[in-house]
Symmetry: C2
DNA sequence: ATCGATTCTGAAAACGTTTACAGTATTCAG
DNA sequence: CTGAATACTGTAAACGTTTTCAGAATCGAT
């Protein structure tokens, strides 16, 4: 591999000149240097540069699961912004596990200049872990504690859940079930509470049997739906006296997929027997027997916003006048398809 | 950030001893050093180490689209193997574009020790591009030219396509359509030819109107299916004289999703009017109105195989006795669900 | 021509490691 | 206790950059 010394020798200048010309400064023998560089196929050594500058021009992006299309799009958005700035990106999945996340960060921290993360856990230990990195950090989608101390990008979960509730109410539903994610997460809590609060404001109470709370996973989604079915909340004899629910809100896409799996297996007809709505769009949502109505998020835009915040912070890192912490909230939208209808016999 | 010098000073030894102890050699004052390291929270500087050793302990993984669940699983497999070996991984998507891929490689090449890639193009220029990197490379799923000169992992496309054809034949289909990917790719060609050859061997000819060839993309899948519909190949009046196809083979998952979208929009009933089978499993395949029968690939295992090949090559890189080039072919399997049935009126 | 101001140049130091080399302490056999 | 063998140690060089500093070339004005 050719080094800057080889280039300098071939061009008949000092290595300083080569370095300067590469940095865009004015140099008398620019043409000779350019020639030498292309003759030798010289590429600056990243490690040496990183060592000298104390910068790696690389950032770590950690998400719970890169195979989730929401996260995939998010990462794409982050990439788009950083690539143009000459940054490399290391993407890794934490599998929603604090331990995996912690290990990843340990491995990555001294190879990157900053971290964009959708934390697996929102607890204090995550906050400490991130603070200990002593690098610019931007949180996405979830927070860590009440005073995270990092920039944050998320969406208006409250409005989204409210929109879902309003929509179901407007269709005439009064007996509604909900499958929610972990309540120790911001999206879990916000969506859950806003949904229930909106119903309550309309005088609709959700019985505790129709509330399922657990992991944001496909597996839990399936189990929760199975329970609802077994309890007779869903798909019970369609007699007039049925006390089951006529609509179901699921708080994210992976849980929704699991729930749909269970509902399908049980032969529940959507939307005839049950109206179905969930947070987060997903691949093929529109292909299902009843294309699923969803609250969709601007994942790419979230990525852009996160990257912008991080770039700003990288720029000022180390200096005394840090820009103030920023919390960017992006809007969500209701995408109406065909999985919701008026309740039967209403 | 604490350096090795700080540790050495605190422990009262030379930096060489610290380095040696970190490398696992025997050192008299190991305990004092360990203590100093943990007191200072010392972490070796990756750039300095990379500079000195000429190694980065990082590999690049380039796939066409990380959001495709097959590639996501593949990457997961690669990660699993490399993580345990202390390697970092940079994942990037080429979007099936040679230009993007070329740029990515340019940016990444001097930050990594090796490259695992599903090349966007299989042509000569990709081969040259990769060869010019002068690093260990493993190709996955696709090749580059007839004499790639790199290790290669893929699956038995021929058997897979043959299995699909045999299955459709066994159900009694004789008028069969095919949507294939680009024929300048190994999977595109192998699947296409094996499928047609198997049919031909059974005396079944596929008319050219029922053959669509294009990009491995959702968009092309949709367009191809739309064309088939418009041409009256699919969903024509179900009279006895209909000359349309009764079964459709699609050569990968993204095209299949596009085709399903179009079929669904046109109200084609699967498998009543049309049997549907495709290469590659996909998320939610089992949730569709008619769960889709697919040829599935062992993506994780492919990732493992690729990683193993690459590790071996990294180990011997630079030495004179390179291990011989290896081409690993993994088996595929037919996953029967409910999208195929006997043809109508048969 | 001369001078000062300006622009460019190269030598050398630094970044944080690993490792060859030469040297010092320890161990062991006699 | 001696000497040889062994086990460890520290110094210093190297990896390929960027950047400071002092000095050299160029330029413009007189």
């Amino acid at each position: 591999m050719a080094t800057i010394h080889d280039v300098a020798k071939l061009a008949g200048v000092s290595i300083a000149s080569v370095s300067r010309m590469l940095a865009g400064e004015n140099v008398r023998s620019a043409e000779a240097i350019r020639q030498a560089i292309s003759d030798l196929g010289y590429r600056p050594n990243a490690s040496a540069r990183g060592l000298r500058l104390g910068k790696h021009h690389c950032i770590a992006v950690i998400v719970p699961d890169i195979a989730n299309p929401y996260f995939a799009a998010l990462v794409r958005g982050i990439e788009e912004r950083f690539m143009t700035q000459g940054f490399r990106i290391i993407v890794a999945s934490s599998d929603e596990q604090f331990s995996a996340e912690s290990e990843l960060l340990g491995n990555l921290v001294d190879a990157v200049d900053a971290i964009a993360i959708v934390p697996a856990e929102e607890g204090e230990r995550t906050r400490r872990l991130l603070a200990a990195l002593n690098k610019p950090v931007v949180l996405i989608d979830r927070s860590v504690g009440d005073e995270p101390g990092f920039d944050l990008v998320n969406v208006d979960n409250t409005s989204g859940a409210k929109a879902a509730a309003d929509y179901l109410l407007s269709l005439g539903h009064r007996r509604i079930g909900i499958i929610s994610g972990r309540q120790d997460t911001v999206p879990g809590r916000a969506r859950h509470q806003a949904f229930l609060a909106t119903l309550a404001a309309a005088g609709v109470d959700v019985p505790v049997e129709a509330i399922k709370i657990g992991e944001f996973s496909r597996d839990f989604g399936r189990r929760a739906a199975q329970e609802l079915i077994q309890q007779g909340q869903i798909g019970a004899a369609p007699g007039a006296g049925a006390a089951g629910i006529t609509a179901l809100f699921v708080a994210n896409n992976t849980m929704a997929q699991g729930a749909l799996l269970a509902l399908h297996a049980a032969g529940v007809s959507i939307p005839r027997e049950l109206s179905f709505i969930c947070f987060d769009d997903f691949d093929l949502a529109e292909l299902l027997p009843a294309p699923v109505t969803v609250i969709s998020r601007p994942a790419i835009a979230e990525g852009h916003a996160a990257a912008d915040l991080l770039l700003r912070r990288i720029e000022h890192f180390g200096s005394t006048n840090q820009p103030p912490l920023e919390h960017k909230v992006l809007p969500v939208s209701l995408t109406i398809r065909q999985s919701c209808a008026a309740p039967p016999f209403n």
